[in-house]
């Protein structure tokens, strides 16, 4: 650890930036790019087959509670497979006018919270070794907070706009 810190200190600002940017490129190529292509292809299939319409109709009352258009359920479903994919769809819905920028902003934390459900169970809960009877509470809390967030952020975020 000591050595690691001295090694890091030797890197000046310019080197550090490039190290980070290289890391960013790898994350982009390995995670962001594939998941966005997946999401766009997935949405193309849903739209062309008419499944999107069906999907939206089923969930429109649920999303209505939170003052969001039914199409936002598609973002919330996609985020299960990939956060970047779900976010990319939300961004594309803003561009085509199905979501307002504020609605997309409100959706962001919720998508982020539920997007980690499965991945983080494996990487955090099981590695930390959480007592089995408490694991369900952790997931439950995250989901409850995720959906409460839709209301909370609709009050908070306009203050920062």
């Amino acid at each position: 650890m000591e050595q690691a810190t001295t090694a890091a200190k030797k890197r000046n600002i310019f080197d550090s930036f490039q190290d980070g940017a290289r890391k960013g490129w790898n994350i982009f190529v390995k995670n962001v790019l594939p998941s966005i292509i997946m999401a766009y292809t997935f949405i193309y299939i849903l739209e062309t087959t008419g499944l999107m319409e069906v999907f939206s109709n089923i969930f429109s009352p649920v999303m209505g509670i939170f003052g969001l258009p039914p199409i936002s359920i598609v973002c919330l479903a996609t985020v299960f497979f990939s956060r970047a994919g779900g976010s990319a769809l939300a961004a594309s819905f803003v561009v085509d006018g199905s979501l307002t920028p504020m609605q997309a902003t409100i959706l962001l934390p919720t998508m982020f919270l539920i997007g980690g459900t499965i991945n983080q169970w494996v990487r955090v809960i099981s590695i930390c070794g959480t007592r089995p009877d408490r694991q369900k509470y952790i997931i439950l809390m995250t989901w409850v907070l995720a959906f409460l967030s839709l209301w909370i952020t609709s009050i908070i975020f306009p203050l920062f706009a």
């Binding site: 490039q18 960013g24 961004a91 934390p109 982020f112 930390c128 408490r134």
Partner: protein
């Protein structure tokens, strides 16, 4: 690593450069200077990313009317600079001690705000950029007897919510940065605060469980 670290860390002085870096990091991602005039506008993440030139009126190289995977590919390309600049900046902040400063500042308040010993602050800061680093360090602390079972489970709740937030936020949420109506850092801070909420709800659950167990024992 976790054997000596927590003890030596309490003696470590808070570095001024680290604190300054932490403050700059907060300013850059807060969006406060996004509309600033003059030199101050460089202290803003969205300004630092710059903008693509326009090929035709109102659209960049992505064009308009694309569909499916090809449209997704071009859209994704617009995000490469965003993720690269974010990671580049974060690397500078990290190398110049911003996370170390955060760790040092967190140590004394860990017990009151999370109910976890200050020794765990290294693992906490680690968990912000990598879920794996955080959970592995937590396991080590527990195995070394430095965290009780209850403390470990509170800590897990903290880490589970928005795990690895620094890296995951600046990659996973990057597609939305161009459209959201608040500064890039605002949803980040909100998610960060929720981590503390979640840990404290876990504290409450553990208390209730203990009460229930005590009742059952009677």
């Amino acid at each position: 690593m976790s054997e000596n670290k927590p003890d030596s860390q309490t003696k470590e002085k808070l570095s001024i450069v680290g604190v300054i870096m932490l403050i700059i990091a907060i300013l850059v991602f807060s969006g406060i200077f996004s509309d600033a005039e003059g030199p101050l506008q460089v202290v803003d993440f969205s300004n630092l990313q710059g903008a693509f030139g326009k090929i035709t009126e109102g659209s960049n190289f992505k064009g308009s009317g694309g569909t499916s995977a090809k449209e997704g590919f071009l859209f994704a390309l617009t995000l490469a600079p965003t993720v690269m600049v974010a990671m580049g900046l974060i690397q500078i902040f990290e190398n110049y001690g911003a996370l170390k400063a955060a760790e040092r500042l967190l140590t004394p308040i860990m017990k009151p705000i999370l109910g976890i010993p200050g020794q765990a602050s290294l693992a906490l800061v680690g968990s912000l950029s990598s879920s794996d680093a955080g959970s592995a360090m937590t396991r080590e602390l527990y195995d070394a007897g430095k965290l009780t079972e209850d403390e470990r489970d509170i800590f897990t709740a903290f880490q589970y919510s928005s795990s690895g937030i620094i890296v995951n936020y600046f990659s996973g949420a990057s597609p939305l940065f161009a459209v959201i109506t608040v500064g890039t850092g605002v949803p980040f801070v909100y998610l960060f605060v929720l981590k503390f909420v979640e840990a404290n709800l876990m504290r409450l659950i553990i208390k209730l469980q203990a009460k229930k167990a005590a009742k059952a024992a009677k």
